[in-house]
Symmetry: D2
Subunit: 372 residues, 4 copies
């Protein structure tokens, strides 16, 4: 494989996340270029290829893996496919960028990490919050001592539910909003505090609004206690009206900061007639809205993909890895367990026989025995 | 006692809370007038009397209780005195306004309620959040159906710690920030949701910043589950720099609202030279600050005191009673218990032998046995 | 007339402004009570009387003036009636509260001031911005030196146009938005700076949106230069969508403050279903809105009416007088003149023969000659 | 010269603006690379070269112009040098990026445009507001019809004054804050409205705070009337405490939008200890501050420089040209004239004999004669 020039990238998937990947590489084109896309649904990968000028299209991702010049593959597929695809990509000798959450089970996580290590490829975990410029600024201030010792970090992501049907099907997603977006908040707190061990997890959740549509939880509150004495508070919802909401709060003995990616970055706007687009998940552009600008950049996606390409070239050390994703996975387990039992779950927590994290909340009988 | 004209009020206490009471009656003078103040420290009640033109001053509150024309007495004394004073005021045949939290123990709460009932006097619980205009507006919108079914209510109150020394001494306060300000949030969620039974309490707390100064917790996070399926999230801190912070969030399947009493009501201001006063607990008026206006009004204190006076005259039914305070007290117990055990505590929860709520967190041995 | 007890008030008018007056006295009932309302349209005064419990209703305001016990009369009638009504009220020996703007012409202003002085009654000018708590706080900070020497004060009031038809008819209103709301901003800057002489006025205006409906201007920008070297910038619009907007900015060499009465005091709210009422002039309660709370209090109307009643009782000195209204009137003249000529108009400016201030903008021929 | 690969760039200057140029090319490195810097002060260009890895350093910019491979030169020198340098760069056959404002006089503007046209090089006008992502989003919404017909556009830029001494010296700057930052607002309104002719200019200005330091104005208010019936309001100050402030407002008959580049993008932060950097021109990082993130990106500098490089390669058509700068220059003339005379100045306005725009305000005798 080439060791210089732009990193050649293949994307597995063609929908929402795949579009973000392709757009991100286009926004920061210096380090990488997307040369192939694979997706089984006829027309879908063609559409993405057309939109972003991607030269090669496959309906079978294995064909994409056969392309010798592709060095890095991004996985933009439903959660239950992450592990299998990662293993195949790694076995094809290509670096892996895997979307969040890393996978369904801790066994999968271990295998993904292990295979990538053995194959000598990078397992890059696509947690864009590590690259969100506003949040990076908050961490920079914290690292400069602005807040003294930080004792509480909060992250919250809320909207009215995802578009793609597989998110609502816990067989394919592994869980509801805690799995889908809680993984962001868990990773964020862990990263912000410089990766101290998670010592315990307390979680409350329920299906408050979308019970007709899913067995998954649509609202969750999760409290993490970290080694060294800080606390994380992670809140998520698929039941919050009014468009996307993503925010953090940081409390230290010497100060506090707030960062709001949406309202706090937006142009407060009133329109009688509406306009093209306001913000992700917003239903309407008439009346008052909070349109954002350079949305992907403000999330940090292009910066993230650029970083991953530079890691492939050895110019940077990975800031978001399979190990990070594995930590998140363990907390997801513990969170679902805590939500069922009402108990604070101490880590390490590794129940056996888990198929989907949400089962620890939904199916008492299984996980009761599993805990023994 | 007179049954018409302005209600004659006596205040027991002369410091921060007593000052708020006196100022509140002054701001809305239509229904009541403060005619007496009692406080043991020489000079203190005199100063308050001077400031607000209160004609009678006592160093022994029992003398105040001897005054026949006084119909309503407000108790602005440390928590551990609330129960004893309430009983004495009631036995003197006067209506009681008791500051939050209601008392130290559930036994005290029961006695306070019982005595007042037997004496035929009102036990009015001074939870000003029921009268805070911005929060009342949020509730009004919710009651009008703006948010559909509400599934999550949040309330948070944070600053860098109280001024009066007794707050830091758990013997006199009964607990730290969860006791001091958590009682507001618990009451708020309960009231906002129209008083459904609290079914369970999960709580996390710690002493993160002020360990040299107190055994009480200085940060707490509390999750309440209510009958009917809504959740309350109550966050409090004595370790938040930058002045007072009091805010709510309301989530329903049909909408959301945010209300921030301080930054969200303030005049963003930069001053090179400083000025008189910005906001409660703010350390500084130079640089950027968020000064508020008509602070007491925006908290709802004058409206609350006016309401209490009108209750005495039979013009309104009490909106905040000893029973409300008792519910809060039970949740405080459950919160401290949950913080120690890491378990979700189901209500009703009535351990015996509790002296101070915080002991359920601090002293495992005692409460372990108590739980049996 | 009685010299103690509550001031007895009569209201002339029964629509929007009259409702504000009645509600304001109800909110702060300590000093005054509304005992009568007069309005010629059958049913209108009855409705107001019903709503606020006003005992006496008249269709002829002269009957109201015959009531001996009424001490103060508020005029909530179209602008062109202000002068005539003021003179009659004063001649009836009653104190006058006149809505803004004071009148149509400087001759009228002089007569109003003169008659009230001769009759020994107060001419109280209902400029509520002098009592708006948030703006009062800004002035308090300025007076405490927070901003050092203030060199620029801005005030802006904007919405999508008034409801009552007479505002759009320049014969009855005397002008468009500059007359209707510019009078607030002019008064505000003058008051904030402690009433230095206005030295010059520059103004730009146009009818940008509502040309089908009115000859009046629907957007105006006005720059005032004051003795002592400060500048006022007053912006107004009847063409601003999205509900009421009222804000100030204060710039001094030592600091700056911003105050926003609406968005800056509101509860950011999203509602799928809508609710009762968000804020004055807002068209809709679905989607994102900025509902306010205690709207009249936050404007300062009850505080203003209470102050006026206390002035009648001699407890306070008038803070807003006919003289203030006259200054505003002269600036209105100068602003319209400047908008037509494109020239900075120096004060004093007293053209003769003006019937309506807007004629100085609309009718060059008339005012050209008048200027000679 | 090469017609492919990255555009090779030279920078004339080594201070604040030169640093922004170098950093901008580094942030978006795809299209261009800085290969040389020239500045006469020993040590200065070396420091910039060191910081950004620029290989060639010159103390005489003519040496830089001798470098054959350099295709584009950015001019980051005081205003009075813009014209001379532009002519020399163009005569060396290199494309010109000239900082704002374009120059001192209309004669210079004409010469710059003429020479560049004759030499076949681009004259690119570095107005970054045309590339500011948040403002671009506002324009995009306007172009999509969100606001219907736009009748008022406001832009304001304020801080407490520039660092470099030459700004305060009107001989070298040509004027105060109206020249320095008013040029942004004038260009912004013109661009936002799709470049309608400016028909008239009204302006008010003064030296309110920094009279000891400069003859230049430190606060200005400017009203522009455009062909087609829209108005621009441009406000600028070197006397605004509290850090940089840059904002716009857009009013149409169908809606309104607000965009604030600083507070409206920032992380509201309280720090007891301070931290590295909050925002341009902010004096302090202790207490409450509004730190921003990715500051240059949020201003649009990298996007602007990337666009200029793409123009050189013929991939895009210039969006900001010498002609734009010339329009601004004429309005600057008219604004200073209006500020002196108090009259609305109609365009075209081309007084002869002007050396520095500010003279039209400062030196009545000269410009009086010039107007004849």
């Amino acid at each position: 494989m080439p060791q210089q020039g732009k990193v050649k990238v293949g994307i597995i998937g063609s929908q929402f996340e795949a579009d973000i990947h392709a757009a991100s590489f286009q926004i920061m084109p210096e380090e990488a270029e997307v040369v192939a896309v694979a997706s089984p649904t006829p027309g879908h990968p063609e559409a993405l290829a057309q939109k972003y000028g991607i030269p090669r299209v496959f309906h079978d991702y294995r064909k994409l893996l056969d392309e010798d010049d592709i060095e890095m593959v991004t996985i933009a597929a439903p959660n239950y496919l992450h592990a299998r695809l990662t293993v195949e990509v790694a076995n094809a000798g290509k670096h892996v960028v895997c979307e969040k959450p890393l996978c369904m089970t801790l066994e999968e996580a271990d295998e993904m990490i292990d295979v990538c290590r053995r194959q000598g490829v990078l397992l890059l975990y696509a947690e864009e919050l590590f690259f969100t410029p506003k949040y990076v600024q908050a961490k920079k201030m914290a690292d400069e001592g602005a807040f003294g010792k930080v004792y509480l970090v909060k992250q919250s992501e809320k909207h009215f539910g995802p578009h793609a049907p597989w998110f609502w099907d816990v067989e394919r997603s592994g869980g509801g909003v805690f799995m889908d977006m809680g993984c962001h908040g868990i990773a964020f707190c862990y990263w912000f505090l410089d990766r101290p061990a998670v010592q315990s997890v307390q979680c409350q959740m329920g299906t408050y609004v979308h019970g007709q549509k899913t067995r998954g939880e649509d609202n969750s509150i999760c409290i993490l206690e970290f080694a060294g004495g800080a606390v994380g508070l992670v809140e998520n919802s698929w039941a919050r009206r009014g468009g996307m909401d993503d925010r953090i709060e940081v409390y230290g003995e010497g100060g506090v900061t707030y960062a709001n990616l949406h309202m706090g970055n937006a142009l407060p706007t009133y329109s009688q007639y509406g306009f093209g687009y306001a913000v992700e998940k917003a239903p309407e552009t008439k009346g008052w809205t909070y349109p954002v600008f350079e949305e992907l950049w403000n999330y940090g996606f292009p910066q993230e993909m650029r970083h991953f390409a530079r890691c492939v070239r050895g110019k940077e050390q990975p800031l978001a890895t399979g190990e990070d994703g594995r930590v998140v996975q363990e907390v997801l387990y513990a969170g679902y367990e805590s939500a069922r039992t009402g108990r604070k779950v101490e880590l390490p927590f590794r129940p056996s026989g888990v198929k989907r994290p949400i089962d620890l909340w939904l199916a008492p009988e299984r996980s009761e025995s599993a805990r023994i």
